[in-house]
């Protein structure tokens, strides 16, 4: 079995109208044995940027701490918050540093970037060695990714408002992880708008 499937878990991010949403499941397991139903794999980077990490649990935690260190140093040195696109490049170069002994993670980045007209939605995903994917609609990662691709392709449409985006991403995630043995056991959704981030925990199948 692949090391990327060892602990299980999935993450998805979607673009809406002046908002983005990022969601993940909460399962942490040891192959088929589920151990925890409260494993956080999404973390705020700034007020307007979130990072989700699917893959090996220990690398999720370690990378979360490494990025926190690098982003803190950036914030202090540049005296400003890091923009999502800059952070995506930071994720990419950090992962490529370990090209021949990689972290077993699939990062997903979602945020709002500063634009002259206000804020622009931004999402990106990378593979375990840092190849970036700047999608305009949605990105998926984790053990249920193939299911999430199909569902997102069907359910997503452009210019969804925050509430509609929440419904869409929630249904995509829930129905995707329900078809995957290694994902599920609860879900969390963050919807990011220019004023605030709304976090909701979903009620899903606990099997």
């Amino acid at each position: 079995m692949s090391i990327m499937e060892y602990n299980g878990g999935s993450v998805i991010a979607m673009v809406g109208k002046d908002c983005v949403a990022i969601a993940s499941d909460l399962r942490f397991g040891n192959q088929s044995l589920g151990i925890a139903s409260n494993f956080q794999r999404m973390f705020p980077v700034t007020d307007r940027t979130y990072l989700g990490l699917a893959g090996l649990g220990t690398d999720v935690t370690t990378l979360r701490e490494r990025f926190r260190y690098r982003v803190n140093m950036y914030t202090i040195k540049e005296e400003r918050d890091i923009e999502p696109q800059t952070f995506a490049h930071l994720v990419s170069s950090t992962l490529y540093e370990h090209r021949f002994g990689p972290y077993f993670v699939e990062p997903v980045i979602a945020g709002l970037e500063k634009a002259p007209s206000g804020f622009k939605p931004f999402i990106a995903a990378a593979d375990l060695i840092g190849c970036l994917n700047f999608a305009k609609d949605f990105v998926v990662a984790g053990t249920a990714s193939s299911k999430l691709y199909g569902l997102a392709e069907g359910l997503w449409e452009p210019d969804l408002g925050p509430e509609d985006l929440f419904e869409t991403i929630s249904q995509t995630l829930l129905n995707g992880v329900d078809r995957d043995a290694f994902s599920g056991w609860g879900a969390v959704v963050h919807v990011i708008t220019k004023d605030r981030v709304v976090t909701r925990t979903l009620k899903g199948r606990m099997d």
Binding site: E78, Q85, T86, A88, H89, L90, S92, S93, A115, F134
Partner: protein, 255 residues
């Protein structure tokens, strides 16, 4: 050369005097004051930096001299003092800018690059077997978060931002001249004109397009910014710093 423990070169050559001064830095500043005058003026819509290109002999091919140097598309530097020290610092600055680009996918903001250069210069005041750099730099750049900014960096490694400044031989007169003529909403065109007048004040010999170098920082239009950002990071950033060609300098001098 240094032995295992460092030998005679493991201690800094820059040591405190009883009065609390670092005499080597004072001497370095003296070397700067002997260098040709350079100046920088920050306008509302850009920055101009300029310097004299003084050759010691008419036989020198002065088209090959580069005193205003590009570090990355948005930052340029001019100096007063020792040319070779400047050359080395520019090489370090360019490498530092590329290292930043490699990590973040964008070029460093002016302040960050200035800090890196200043750190290099400070290290030369506190390391074994090295002397301080004999140059002062004027760093001019544009970034989207702060707009145009002009910094001076001294041999000690200290740096600070200016609206307008001059360094080198004629800096006292030049700064007085600038103080009188500067106002916060000066335009780039006026700033270039003022820079040339200021240089002319202390100029020894003929001021032509061959004996001065000018670099300008311009502010990109809003549309230009959007285009480059979503090329997936592969689009080349449009340069905001450039050196004026001899023809352009000639046109400004004719005014």
């Amino acid at each position: 050369m240094a032995s295992a423990e460092g030998g005679a070169y493991s201690y800094s050559l820059t040591v405190f005097s009883p009065s609390g001064k670092l005499v080597q830095i004072e001497h370095a500043l003296a070397a700067v004051s002997q260098g040709t005058t350079s100046l920088g003026i920050k306008a509302s819509n850009g920055i101009v930096i300029a310097t004299e290109k003084k050759s010691s002999s008419i036989l020198i091919d002065d088209s090959m001299i580069e005193k205003v140097a590009v570090v990355c598309p948005n930052i340029g530097i001019v100096y007063s003092g020792m040319g070779p020290d400047f050359r080395v610092l520019i090489a370090r600055a360019r490498k530092s800018a590329q290292a930043y680009w490699k990590v973040y996918g964008e070029y460093p903001p002016t302040k960050v690059l200035t800090q890196e250069i200043a750190t290099v210069m400070q290290e030369a005041t506190q390391s074994g077997g090295v002397r301080p750099f004999g140059v002062s730099l004027l760093v001019a750049g544009w970034d989207v978060h702060r707009g145009p900014s002009l910094y001076q960096v001294d041999p000690s490694g200290s740096f600070w931002a200016w609206k307008a400044s001059a360094i080198g031989k004629n800096m006292v007169n030049a700064k007085t001249f600038l103080e009188k003529r500067y106002n916060d909403d000066i335009s780039l065109e006026d700033a270039i004109h003022t820079a040339l007048l200021t240089l002319k004040e202390g100029f020894e010999g003929q001021m032509t397009e061959k004996t001065i170098e000018i670099g300008v920082v311009t502010v990109p239009a809003v549309e230009e910014l959007q285009v480059e950002k979503h090329g997936g990071g592969t689009a080349r950033p449009r340069p905001t710093f450039r050196k004026l060609s001899e023809e352009e300098v000639k046109d400004y001098l004719a005014l």
